[in-house]
Symmetry: C2
Subunit: 224 residues, 2 copies
């Protein structure tokens, strides 16, 4: 691989998005630790992923243990579990990067934008954790199912928002490493756009009968 190897925990790693990100990041050469509330469940999920990868590169642990062992912690849990999951790992986050992939979907109408008061779920997590944790918003607009199918391409750009520019750069590099294109989308408050787009993309998937629409930023190169 090009660039630094990152030690990455995936909290909520047994879900579809967590699984897909773990697979792609591990294949790109990063050191991945799959986390779950139940360490045994994480171990079983990691073993299944390692069979797909053809080698035992993904480690496993409970969420707190995974976060402790990593320098970048990816939160890939449903919106309803976001705050409880953050509290579970909070003590292990100081000085680290927390990549929050949460989109504030409110069942049953997940195809309608319903942003929380204040506008952004992830910005609220940054406010909760304070400046000693660099919170980054990313991966809300990528199809989890497509990430999990290693032989299929994923489509779209990844809007990366954070108040810390170096944290943005490191997460943009992660997106680039798994074959997507990370886009510097500005401060953490701008995460509202990515979070709202998730519901729009769910609407579009149903309306246009496609499996996993994404977004691209047009106009960054002369022919785009």
């Amino acid at each position: 691989m090009t660039g630094a190897v990152e030690k990455i925990a995936i909290v909520g790693g047994t879900g579809t998005l967590g699984n897909g990100l773990a697979l792609r990041l591990a294949r790109a050469g990063h050191a991945v630790i799959l986390g779950s509330r139940d360490a045994a469940k994480a171990g079983a999920a990691a073993a299944a992923l390692n069979r797909i990868l053809g080698g035992g590169v993904i480690a496993a642990g409970d969420n707190r243990g995974a976060a402790e062992a990593a320098s970048i912690v990816v939160l890939a849990v449903p919106f309803a579990a976001e705050k409880a999951s953050v509290e579970e790992i909070r003590g292990a986050l100081d000085g680290k990067i927390l990549v929050d992939a949460t989109a504030p979907l409110v069942p049953p109408r997940v195809n309608r934008v319903q942003l929380p008061p204040g506008g952004s779920a992830v910005a609220a997590i940054q406010a909760l954790l304070g400046e000693h944790v660099r919170v980054v918003s990313a991966f809300q607009n990528v199809s989890a199912e497509k990430l999990g199918k290693l032989d299929a391409p994923v489509v779209g750009d990844v809007l990366v928002c954070a108040d810390d520019a170096e944290a943005r750069r490191r997460v943009i590099a992660l997106a680039d490493a798994i074959g997507l294109r990370g886009i510097d989308a500005g401060p953490i408050c701008n995460s509202a756009a990515a979070e709202a787009l998730t519901s729009v993309l769910i609407w579009i998937n149903r309306k246009y009968k496609v499996p996993g629409a994404g977004i691209r930023i047009a106009g960054l190169t002369p022919d785009s």
Copy 2:
């Protein structure tokens, strides 16, 4: 042209976005009436546009008169003028389609997402006007400058949101007619995504030093 000729008023038509939309829609064969608070100012702006088009096809009037003469009314004013402009034309909107292109930019930090309470400026206008006016959100993510340069292509998709499906279809057809791609993005609450994206695109324009980034929906066709 293919499809029906629409009679379209552009309220706030002397601004950059209004000018660009008027030019493109008129060139596509629609009947365009440029509106301004000052009818004389609208007349001068329409005359300038007609010189570019090489013929006197764009009419002009005050905002209220323009709205009265049209079946589709496009609101292309700054966020700070949105509500006052709606009040100015309110009596002329019954049974019509109001296309609100407002993005809730809050100077001076227009590259930071600052959605209003409730999440969407345009959804608030639908709530204000009631069900007798079909409010459609569109054109927040298209470069006004590029629209105004008829010899240059504009890039990107247009997210079209409305609670009324037929109104969505008619505005999607307008976007298609001017060489963009209209996307059915769902109910009016989903406008929050397009509104938030405007600030993200302004951030991206500055960060990547490009003149007018837009967005595209990826994955609607097998090769996209």
